[in-house]
């Protein structure tokens, strides 16, 4: 088995802040590794070490078969990096941005322009190709940034929170793009704060928190540990709340929990549970104003993994909301 990305015992300290405290990562060739964690968990630090931008204090890592510490130049020949904040050149047009990268990768002028055209088309930026990047929307900048990291057809691609700040429909578009990358045979390391995103894209998920790996495995396995999906229901008539609670206790696992002011939530297994729920509600005569099936939030994940209450993450979560759409 060949690993396109393999890291053991990575540590990194900034002042007295231990950003990474011994992280192991492994991604097989042609797969997506999801690195899931809240703000400040150490995701960006890990990516920067693997992309040769930062030296680890200890531990070792190979990317595309080359040691990031002793052979950074060769690593750089095989990677594409899309950082957490789009690093496109505002004063250059979309085309100029991509042609420049192509030329730095030693493509001849004609080739670099052809590759730029190809990528702009793929990322639906042809119309904006000759406009300066500073006129682009947040989503367009992300796409241009991603395109820039693909110019050299890298074998290993690092995507640091590629969808943070995008609205939901744009997020789905980006997921499609990422799926295509893997279909082309690339290996992707994707960092994210959303379990749903890791679930949708990753073959393996590594969950990190405060610089440590706290869980890992294929999404299905991880979801089983985390208690599968959450079913949220809000009754139309509050008088039926207790009746609803009894019903949910039968359908789901464990005791239903309060959610919001008068909603109830319970964990359930399987994606096809919704029709059964609707049928059960109808035969019991319970009308609802809200019914949804979703993956647990990162907070819920962390609660089930660490037992720590979400309050521990609240301060960081608030910064997440404000994160610029860069």
């Amino acid at each position: 088995m060949t690993f396109a990305i393999h890291a053991e015992g990575l540590t990194k300290r900034f002042g007295d802040n231990q950003a990474l405290a011994g992280v192991d990562l492994a991604a097989r060739e042609g797969t997506v590794l999801g690195l899931l964690g809240p703000n400040g968990a150490g995701k960006t630090t890990a990516v920067r070490i693997l992309a040769t931008l930062l030296a680890a204090d200890s531990g070792q890592a190979t990317v595309a078969g080359f040691d990031v510490r002793t052979d950074p130049r060769r690593v750089r020949e095989h990677i594409g990096l899309t950082g957490q904040y789009a690093s496109v050149d505002d004063d250059l047009t979309g085309t100029q941005n991509l042609v420049m990268i192509g030329q730095l990768l030693d493509l001849r002028g004609v080739e670099a322009r052809r590759r730029a055209r190809e990528l702009l088309e793929w990322f639906d930026l042809t119309e904006a190709a000759d406009r300066m990047a500073k006129t682009y929307s947040g989503g367009m900048r992300r796409r241009l940034d991603l395109a820039a990291s693909l110019v050299g057809r890298p074998a290993v691609i690092f995507l640091d929170e590629p969808t943070t700040g995008l609205d939901p429909s744009k997020r789905e578009d980006m997921w499609g793009v990422i799926r295509n990358l893997v279909a082309d045979g690339s290996t992707v390391l994707l960092t994210t704060q959303y379990l749903a995103e890791a679930d949708a894209l990753a073959d393996e998920i590594t969950v990190i928190d405060r610089g440590r790996v706290i869980a890992g495995g294929p999404p299905d396995q991880l979801k089983r540990v985390l208690g599968g999906q959450r079913l949220s229901v809000r009754p139309a008539d509050l008088g039926q709340r207790d009746e609803l609670r009894r019903l949910l206790a039968v359908i789901g696992h464990g005791e239903p929990a309060e959610e919001g002011r008068d909603g109830l939530t319970v964990s359930v297994e399987g994606d096809d549970v919704l029709p059964d729920v609707v049928a059960a509600l109808r035969s019991a005569g319970i009308r609802v104003t809200e019914l949804s099936l979703h993956l647990p939030s990162l907070d819920e994940v962390f609660f089930s993994l660490t037992g720590r209450s979400e309050a521990a993450h609240q301060s960081t979560d608030r910064t997440t909301e404000k994160e610029p759409v860069a």
Binding site: L54, T62, D89, Q103, L104, A215, L222, S304, L305
Partner: protein
């Protein structure tokens, strides 16, 4: 209840190393630098306010000094002062003009643009060298504007056009060495805004504590000692000699020595600052 990834059975196989893709050398490295320099030029041209410090600012200084102080300083002969002042202004302007370079580099790093460059298989020094080379265009513009405007005000060289060209070439060459201080400060400063503050603290004493504006014989002894070693004084002395006639040899030699010293000290420092940038 922690799941862990199964320990990998074997480590990844190291691919055989080939000669291809080693440290970029010669023509390849030069090509990278030129591609990046072109980027810097495009950026500069698209943001015209980037030109203020090499056009309007030196011209304003020239006007202010010539008309406000000119009469007083040279006992009434404004024209005579202009002859003295203009070659001096070249030295001050290139020093001031170098400040923007460090600021822009720091801004690029803050924006993450350099992260992309650092993840590419190009020489680490390429983005910095490129920025310095692209700055050449700004210094050239500065020289043309300053001397051109001086001519409108009545400045005339006393030597020949070749000497004038030599004087301008010397100023630009000096600028390309001096600006590595700005690059270094750009790598070390915490924000691009603070680059300006630090550089002003350095450039103002250097440019005013020199023979740029007044004859050094009017200064107290300790200041004269400083002026004597000040690289700007030597540059200005050499430029004056080339434009107005008179001996240049010693000033020229000192200017070259300073240029070499600036490169030897600040290029490695700047590159190291850049490499360490987390």
């Amino acid at each position: 209840m922690t799941l862990t990834t199964t320990a990998p059975a074997e480590l990844s196989v190291s691919a055989p190393t080939t000669a291809e893709g080693d440290r970029p050398t010669g023509p390849r490295a030069l090509r990278h630098v030129l591609v990046l320099a072109r980027r810097n030029l495009i950026k500069t041209i698209r943001t015209p306010e980037q030109f203020i410090d090499v056009t309007l600012q030196p011209v304003t200084f020239l006007l202010l000094f010539a008309y406000v102080f000119g009469g007083a300083i040279s006992g009434g002969s404004r024209h005579q002062y202009l002859e003295f002042l203009l070659p001096g202004m070249l030295g001050q302007s290139v020093a001031l003009g170098s400040i923007a370079l460090g600021q822009n580099l720091k801004a690029d790093i803050e924006k993450g643009v350099f992260d992309r460059f650092r993840s590419l298989p190009i020489a680490r020094s390429a983005p910095l060298v490129a920025a310095v080379i692209a700055d050449f265009a700004r210094y050239l513009l500065l020289c043309v504007i300053l001397v051109g405007f001086g001519y409108v005000m009545g400045f005339r060289i006393a030597t020949d056009p070749l000497s004038l060209i030599a004087a301008l070439a010397l100023s630009i060459a000096f600028a390309l060495c001096f600006c590595w201080i700005s690059v270094f400060v750009g790598m070390k400063a915490r924000t691009s805004g603070s680059v300006q503050g630090i550089m002003f603290l350095l450039v103002l004493p250097l440019s005013f504590g020199s023979s740029t504006f007044v004859e050094t014989s009017t200064m107290p002894g300790w200041l004269q000692a400083f002026v004597k070693v000040n690289p700007i004084s030597h540059l200005v002395g050499a430029v004056r000699g080339l434009m107005l006639g008179g001996p240049v040899g010693s000033n020229l030699a000192w200017t070259f020595a300073w240029m070499a010293a600036l490169l030897v000290v600040f290029v490695p420092l700047a590159l190291r600052g850049y490499a360490r940038h987390a």
